[in-house]
Symmetry: C2
Subunit: 466 residues, 2 copies
Amino acid sequence: MPDYRRRATREAMSVRLDVNGMMADTVGHAGVTREEVDGLGARTSEIARALKARRGAGELPFLDLPYQKDALARTKTVANALREESETLVVLGIGGSALGTRTLIEALETTRRVVVADNVDPMSFGTLLDGLELARTTFNVISKSGETAETMAQFLIVRDLLLRQLGAVDYAKRVVITTDADQGALRQVVHDEGFRDLAVPADVGGRFSVLTAVGLLPAAFAGVRVDDLLAGAAWMDTRCQEPDPWRNPAHLLATLLYLADARHRRNVVVLMPYSDRLHCYAAWFGQLWAESLGKAETLDGKPAHVGQTPLSAVGATDQHSLLQLFTGGPADKVIIMLRVEDHGREVPVPAAYADLDSIGYLGGVGLGRLLNLEQRATELALVKQQRPVLTINVPQVNAFTLGQLICLFEVAVVFAAGLYRVNPLDQPGVEDSKRLTYGQMGRKGFDAERAQVEAWLARKRNDYTL
Amino acid sequence: MPDYRRRATREAMSVRLDVNGMMADTVGHAGVTREEVDGLGARTSEIARALKARRGAGELPFLDLPYQKDALARTKTVANALREESETLVVLGIGGSALGTRTLIEALETTRRVVVADNVDPMSFGTLLDGLELARTTFNVISKSGETAETMAQFLIVRDLLLRQLGAVDYAKRVVITTDADQGALRQVVHDEGFRDLAVPADVGGRFSVLTAVGLLPAAFAGVRVDDLLAGAAWMDTRCQEPDPWRNPAHLLATLLYLADARHRRNVVVLMPYSDRLHCYAAWFGQLWAESLGKAETLDGKPAHVGQTPLSAVGATDQHSLLQLFTGGPADKVIIMLRVEDHGREVPVPAAYADLDSIGYLGGVGLGRLLNLEQRATELALVKQQRPVLTINVPQVNAFTLGQLICLFEVAVVFAAGLYRVNPLDQPGVEDSKRLTYGQMGRKGFDAERAQVEAWLARKRNDYTL
């Protein structure tokens, strides 16, 4: 196993940014100039300084997660116990309580089954429950607030099922709760029922929580090398201390994406890994970018309505679906490609049909090599059409590189929020939808919202329904 | 089983558009006015007339797929034979040869396993092959052109594997080819090796091919009621003959989305089904919308660079991921929600923790009902923030409604192309990437492209890599 304490090993396994395709030297007016980046120098230095100070004051605790040895030890202890007891871990969680875990499980090698149930679709959830052997399953209920409606509904269903099937003594052994250390309804439930529990540290929001017990318990249960994951995040964190933005991957990434959006009208950012295993990583990035930057107001309360729209794609598949729009459509996108140098396996393509020109040339290549040649071809095809492309080179998909990728965008999004002058840590725009749901459910105190929904339904015109 | 020959049954199972949330009456300046729609009346009538004429001349053959009884019979015969021989059907196909099938398989009840292999990732493809029992598996190789690099590479690997494991006599029985009726390398292969085959009709492009053997063979193998699927498409086709755009679902849909983009700067269209089973339908829609409308040139060769960017989301899950951006971010989106009235199953939420305000209110609801209340709440929350929303009501997810949904957007995209004045049937913007791949592979006749890639790599600056 590689020893990531050695600097040479870390360097060789480093995730690298290639920003050539973003720059005006390459894509003309569509690109960013060196002068534009340097012209933001005063702002970027100020943001870097402010973030350092806030981190020192404990206001950005998610940045310190790679170094929390006690929390990690506790998570590992619980995970090891669960591995003795269960073959399957079912995560009940949604949004930030689900996407990070799904990213880890899909990307990395696993030795136990983890299923993430992140919706309240009765067909898919019912079918999932039907197929479980309850006596060999643990349910990990994850909600920072302890009152997420979808997760709580799932929990009530599972709790009742366990009570009925396993009885009042054994049912509690099949549940582990991950929630805020001190407050919320789930914390109360832990207290009353004696479930095992893990804590989400204060001030670490859902979309920044993958390196807490939220993501680490399921990952450790699955057999993921969580130490490597944290070592990778720590390594990227180290690289992102660099004051010169041209040498700081997260700060340069954030600055280029911000300039592309704010100065060059690129309101869509595509994340396109050339690896099936990073599909869910693109969805994780989508939440991080959308929820952190998509804001109605600036920090000082002025109207903002900013935020790039993240679009996830997979190469080479989506060359046959979205590429036409990327090359021919409006000049409104930046494309970030993730290129994996070593896919961990090669599948050779045997030679055959040498007389058929359009098949014969494939013999002798490997699928991984074909995939990477397509990535390079598409990168150039985009650049030739003046479409900005940023390529992230990933030596392998493993826990160490995934840790880097997670930290890279977490730091980048907070830095980008500085440029947009918005708060990356809140999500006020989702509250109204929750209240309107409570109103319809008859939850106490939400009568006004119930009335609003009724008025909306009454106002709908029949001639607008067909 | 419902009898869709009865008009009352069709009406009751009709997919319905609710455009209230799109209109200026509801969302103010962000919305479309009745006058804007009516002001396009001359254009829309002309487009409707032109499409009718083109269809009559056989230029839009995908519209007639619901009525091809001979082709359907042949597909069913092959599917029934395969059901006797195999437990698993592996589709080797990409883009339009994969997304439609995945849509059908994920949305509908199945009795046999269909796996769609739509990438050349060596890890996922290798792992898939490792787990197959070859003697009980059929491979359905799908490529209209017969020369799709990814699919041909997969085919060469599978062919070699079958030859080695099953021998020169039996291997051919495990392959069914779906390709152009008359031309291409795969047609030649069928001719030389005697594989079973099905034909993709002339002039039906990949993204419009789900109702040909491309999608119907795997669906019929899986046990999907393909007659209902075609009956649903035919029913929507009938509804889309209506000359008045206010009564024609596809024409109104296309007109509203076009106006939102061209007049109200909504360059992103979100498709958000509130049903896990329609997740892949959103990806199918993504290809259809992106590849058909994302065009560099108009029909008469003038620069266009048009096309809305499709973003797929799933409710309620993505309320916890993307909704913040939708409500608070820039005014650059239209959101289409798919609401499923009856999810085919209900999972009741048992009452518990009555003393905990934030959990207790959930007791007594069902998951499906919760999901639908959330859809309504989010629809209203968006409208309150002046975000245009179009809701599509789907009575149930079944083959008849899915057939309607497929036809609805196929007709809509061709109509929208009329408004944008672009060709919905081509995809010239993907060719360069293919040529640049051929160049790197050393395929004959692509030396210039190889040199372009080498020049691009040589031009990259070291100080732009970090």
